[in-house]
Symmetry: D2
Subunit: 247 residues, 4 copies
């Protein structure tokens, strides 16, 4: 009799300790046609269990890698679009992507790809594309490729944009929302324009958690970098270093 | 010992019988700061339980009532915007709204409210607003009010649009998505323009289920009505009568 | 006396022959502070003058060719996305494009290009892309190519969309407006979905003249075609045949 | 004598045969305050000419006054949305508006007006509206009114937004573009969020000239103000003081 009560208590505690995540996870498993029973009954080893937990934890997160294209970060291209400090963050971006892959985070490579005539570029940049000049990130040109060391893999998604924000006049929000993404982690160049505009639009579009990895982003000067990080923090954006984020 | 097994089995059955809805509901309660314990421990009567199930069922649905304003459906206004067959559906729209209220469905009154100078109206309609004429649904005019018999209540939401689709250049998708709405039920005028454009945009925005109540919508002629219902059915829209929908 | 009449006749003929375009052109010159006189006084030869008039007349017009891709109009592909009557209009579309080229009209090839996993396709179509099936118009697949007989040329623009409307979550409006485009001519498939949604969005976006070439568009049945043409006419869209348009 | 009558008839016919375009042209000239006749025949005096030039110069400019509502700039409201340094710029904003009026610039009052339940507010701000608290700028509340000293006049336009940028999910771009606006002058609060996001979106939407009047805008600290002005300058935005702008 007392054993019944003990058992009841245990089960109650167990139920109450199910956090929202587990509930969400259970729901998903169930709906997707899978059965929850094998998972429970098969008693996965600790390592497999924590892997499952990890991927569940990150299944609602996407990483946006912004504008890490040769014309913007590789001085060898000699492009008018170069952001000189961009080159230095390529390894950090590559590492952030590697961590994201390990966690099962959905990786989206956001790139500019422009018309050779510049008909889809901001008015104030069109002179870079006029009369035969090769402007930055022309579709099909080498400068539009990802910087050396950054590899788009099977299962990643590549999204083309033509303005600062990755959400401006693109279907990014549609891809993310229908993939169940609620949280974003953002890396790339450059902080005051494409990164920040993407971040602010993400907040306006009600992503629950928006994270910018400070040392996997770049700006023309340290002051521009820090002042923009400050403003983003002020609207609730998280701004860890790569080391802090990978913990 | 066998009693332990019996108890275990009962609990297992119980857990497995929790449908996705209840889980979702539990999660919501939990997160919203409410306590789950009284609900579980208080053993609600069957009727209260099914009411809870009902409101859970409809908590992801919103009703959009489109353009049911005097200038569009009340001949007494003498507006150039009148759709003659609109008046006849006012009772059906009122009844659909009443059913929606009973079910706890989120009700959104989508209205046009235009500048007296017509600066926010479609180009092809601007002549209705020129040189002192009072165009349809001018903000603050009687013609912009809801038709007699339709009442915006506390807790409803009123959304102003300036084009056919309720989603065009408005924050409707934001209000709906952040309210957890996945399904839409649509009533109002007129089928080929404002209703259909809203429906098609809803499909493009990936609402899971889009329903148009056929006899709570109107068009200039029966042929226009039926041909548009046909096209919407062809992209997966549900098109019940009010009687069918209220079952 | 007769000289008065002769003068009158001349002036009458001259005025009546001014088409709206020339008027528009005059207006612009005038308002922009430039002088019209040098242009008139330099007396270009007749042929040059009419060429200039022609290209001026059409410089504010773009042609949108919608979804004329193999998976949608070529039965040989065996795609689930095929619209059977699409194949028959390929020659008319090719001819419309040829006329547009001759007139100097900006040609925009609007295409769907989808993720192999269908992550950017409408929810109600995602089953076509699940578990290894090759859905319609997958980026890089043959089915996403233009139908045989339709050639994208240097100077044309290719715009990728992921929903019905060519304007939905794309930068099409930006490309058009910054290219000075005010009028649209639309051909392609299929009338009730991608063509009509593009047309209605074009009206909502205040393009001054929107034209659908009736026999260079297709629908599943003649009734679907004619009922949609009727609805578009009712909001001011022009609906000539190819023969009428090429006059 | 008969020749006079003949001439008269001819002219009458001629006038009646003027197509809608010429009429449109005449109407525009007329409505915009200028008469077509004086311009052609009367050789206006220098002062009238420069006034006409001035209004022509500014007819393509609009002023956006952003969020100058009591809850955001008037400490007396005690709102959680207060930006303390906002109050100090009210006189400068009023003066900027007065200058704009004198120049015939189209004035647009951009305001937040929120649902009392906060269903249309950013997720990260919703706690301000929960359980009976009156959040900032609730529609119909005193806090949503313009600050004392700022008057919306007949002919101005009031635009409601629910996010930082005045362009986000609103019809502002539509109103501006169809009113022939190409240049924007922006005043109000606060620089890093609503002002900057509106400015960046204006650049993305290809307004030709975007101007921020530095001392008719405010931020929480001088550093936040200056760093954001710096970033905006870097993408081509003009940043005069009110004195410089009024010259």
């Amino acid at each position: 009799m007392t054993s019944h009560l003990a058992l009841m208590s245990c089960l109650l505690v167990l139920l109450l300790s199910l956090d929202k995540f587990l509930l969400h996870y259970l729901k998903k498993r169930w709906l997707s046609g899978g059965s929850i029973i094998p998972r429970i009954s098969s008693a996965p080893s600790k390592s497999r269990r924590s892997m499952a937990a990890a991927s569940a934890k990150w299944s609602e997160t996407a990483m946006l890698v912004i504008d890490m294209q040769k014309d913007f970060v590789d001085p060898a291209m000699g492009s008018s679009g170069l952001l000189a400090p961009g080159e230095a963050i390529v390894p950090a971006v590559a590492e952030a992507v590697a961590v994201a892959r390990q966690r099962g985070i959905f990786i989206i490579w956001v790139v500019r790809e422009h018309d050779p005539y510049g008909r889809d570029v901001e008015l104030f940049r069109r002179h870079f594309y006029s009369s035969g000049k090769l402007g930055p990130a022309v579709k099909g040109s080498e400068g539009a490729d990802m910087a050396d060391g950054l590899i788009v893999e099977e299962g990643d998604y590549k999204l083309v944009k033509t303005r600062f924000s990755a959400f401006f006049a693109t279907h990014l929000d549609s891809v993310l929302k229908t993939s169940g993404i609620k949280n974003l982690v953002i890396v790339g160049v450059q902080i005051p324009n494409c990164v920040r505009q993407t971040v602010y639009d993400a907040v306006a579009l009600d992503y629950e958690k928006v994270t910018v990895i400070t040392d996997a982003t770049a700006a023309a000067t340290p002051e521009i970098h820090s002042s923009n990080i400050r403003d983003m923090k002020n609207i609730g954006v998280e701004t860890p270093t790569l080391e802090e984020w990978r913990l």
